[in-house]
């Protein structure tokens, strides 16, 4: 009886496997087809503007002012941010960096010869396909000088009030950098939004708040 049951179960397995395999293969095919589908866009470039809403206040829990200043300064330094001053009695930390990571500039999608490439708008260097230009390409470059004032406030729950400012430099030109299409200098303060001549936009990202939270 036992042996018979085993035999029945073993014989039944192939019959059960087939529909499962079909289901998996069908799902695989359907998913691949759906993943390959692209939202039609006008022209080779499309753009998703930034959605960042950078936090201006970060809760640090219960701690002394002294400890909170030391902890935040340490987190900033560990993340590569230069701490210019850290007032243990005033609670004011001044810091700076040179990174586009503190900015959110949305996402650019480029379609060229059946190839779709997506990249962050805050990329320090990107090559865009532009048929009318030498080599059929233009080079888009961005850089930033970031300044941060972080005021630690000792209340029941210690908080850090963040003020950030970014001096942004952007340019687009030929890939050998011999000719410029545009070059601009813009300042982003906290949640303000700047627009470049190519209609891309940048605002502060939440990166500094993430570092401060630890």
């Amino acid at each position: 009886m036992v042996a018979g049951s085993e035999s029945t179960a073993r014989n039944a397995m192939p019959a059960l496997r087939l529909p499962r395999q079909i289901a998996s293969v069908t799902a695989f095919g359907a998913a691949l087809l759906l993943a390959a589908c692209e939202v039609p866009a006008n022209g080779p470039l499309s753009y998703q503007p930034p959605e960042a809403d950078a936090a201006t206040t970060v809760s640090l829990g219960s701690d002394t002012l002294d400890n909170a200043v030391a902890a935040v300064s340490g987190r900033l330094a560990a993340a590569g941010v230069t701490v210019l001053s850290a007032g243990k009695s005033s609670g004011l930390i001044r810091a700076r960096a040179n990174s586009m990571a503190f900015l959110d500039c949305g996402q650019i999608t480029q379609r060229s010869q059946k190839t779709t490439a997506r990249f962050p708008g805050n990329s320090e260097r990107a090559v865009l396909v532009a048929a009318d230009f030498p080599a059929g390409l233009v080079l888009r470059e961005l850089s930033a000088k970031n300044s941060f004032d972080i005021q630690i406030v000792p209340r029941d729950v210690v908080t850090a009030n963040i003020s950030q400012s970014h001096e942004l430099r952007g340019s687009t030109g030929t890939v050998d950098r011999s000719e410029l299409l545009w070059r601009v200098r813009q300042v982003v303060s906290d949640n303000s939004v700047v627009t470049f001549p190519d209609q891309t936009k940048c605002t502060s990202s939440d990166a500094i708040a993430t570092i401060i939270r630890g």
């Binding site: 799902a27 998913a31 650019i108 030109g173 001549p197």
Partner: protein, 95 residues
């Protein structure tokens, strides 16, 4: 019951494949980029470096790819005009 199980398998496989199959995922992007860069380097042709740049416009090796294109004379041999128009182009359209 067996029908329900098949649907569960279908949905699980569908979503897993959909997530993995999406282009531009960070995890696989680095490996794919490295592969494309190595492929461009082995070919060593203008079209191979163009292919790399088309796939990775903001990639890790953009600077090297451009240097190779310049070295291979892609700029000199280009039939496209060298004059830069006054109006900024290409602009990125917002959708």
């Amino acid at each position: 019951m067996a029908k329900l199980s098949r649907w569960a398998i279908f949905l699980r496989a569908f979503f897993v494949t959909l997530i993995i199959g999406q282009p531009g995922r960070v995890g696989s992007a680095d490996q794919a980029e490295m592969r494309d860069w190595q492929s461009a380097q082995s070919a060593g042709t203008i079209s191979a470096y163009y292919d790399y740049l088309r796939k990775h416009p903001a990639g890790e090796y953009v600077e090297q790819a451009l240097a190779e294109l310049i070295r291979l004379g892609a700029l000199e041999n280009s039939s496209t005009p060298r004059s830069i128009p006054t109006q900024p182009a290409p602009s990125v359209s917002v959708y």
